[in-house]
Structure formats: C-alpha cells, structure tokens
Symmetry: C2
Subunit: 102 residues, 2 copies
C-alpha cells in the first residue's frame, strides 16, 4: 500500500514530475524503479509519492536543492534521462520549495 | 485526455494535495469536480494536474499565495473541507513556491 510521505516540518523541497507516457514500455519499469532506489540512497531524501492514470505525477521530497542536484547528476540517473523521450510523449519537472504543509 | 499544465515562467505557486480514499463515495465526485470549477474561476489560477491509483495526487498552480488563500476560503470550498474526513483516510496539503521548471 502506498503511504503519504512523512516529511518533516517545512521548509523543504519537492520535485514534481508530471508525464504522459508513450506506448513504448521497453525498460521503463526497471528504470523507474532504479531511479527511486537511487533517490532513497541519496543524503537528504525525505520521501516519495506517485500515481498514474492518464497522467503520471510523482513527487519526491528533499532537504535541499543540493540533494536534488546530486540525485539528478547521479551517473545512472543521467543515463536514464537520455531515454526519456522514448517513454514520455510529454513531461515537465518542477522544483519547488515547500513553504507550509498541513 | 489530461494535459500537463501550461504554467508560466517561475516563480509561481503549487498546492500538492496527496490523499488516500476511504470506501465512502457519497458526494465525493461531485464535490471534487465543483472544487476544481471554483479553482478555474479564481483570479490567479494557472493550471491543474491530477492522477489517482492507490494514492491520489492533485496539483494546482497559482500566481500567488493570496490566490491560493482566496480559493481555500471560498464558501463552497470551506463547506467541502468539513466533509474531507468522510472521503479520505489520510491526506496532506503542501503549499510550495515553484522555483524552476523545465
């Protein structure tokens, strides 16, 4: 069962990744799983939430912009990023500072 | 077909609403639809994205914290808020400032 991320008191950071999939599955599920594993291993990772219907939305939570940057620049993550145009017809990443939560 | 929100250049604001549903549907779909209609009518509304699997994630985008506050305080929205414990076993709202997108 999915759980709502148990994030600490703000401020912290969120990366909202919104995407529409192509029909091409080749390697997608494995890559998505691996990228999340890498996230969980990064210092400063705080949590993760995801859902997909027509659109996919995944949100990862982080202590700092530096932690997000380190995840993004991880060699395996960079390699996966080069394949995103196969898997997604459209996607958008938004890097946010969480100001309040309740 | 859902669309990725066509938001302007940052900074702008995002409200991430994450939830786990109860089994109780009574009035939920109508209320969710109405709350989105009210959002679209608010000055400063920029867009909306949503998906639900086990977990529901909806993200609304706004020009300012004042616009978010006006939506939250809309009389119909306030009324719906009193029923949320029927529809959701757990939920979390995070108000964020979008710093970058790409």
């Amino acid at each position: 069962m999915s759980k709502i991320a148990n994030t600490p008191k703000p401020p912290y950071y969120a990366v909202i990744f919104t995407s529409l999939r192509t029909e091409i599955g080749n390697g997608y599920a494995e890559a998505a799983k691996r990228i999340l594993e890498i996230a969980r291993q990064q210092p400063g990772f705080l949590g993760y939430e995801a859902a997909r219907q027509e659109m996919g939305i995944s949100v990862s939570y982080w202590e700092s912009l530096e932690a997000i940057c380190a995840w993004k620049e991880h060699p395996e993550h960079r390699k996966v990023q080069t394949r995103e145009s196969e898997w997604y017809s459209e996607s958008r990443i938004r890097v946010c500072r969480v100001e309040r939560d309740y």
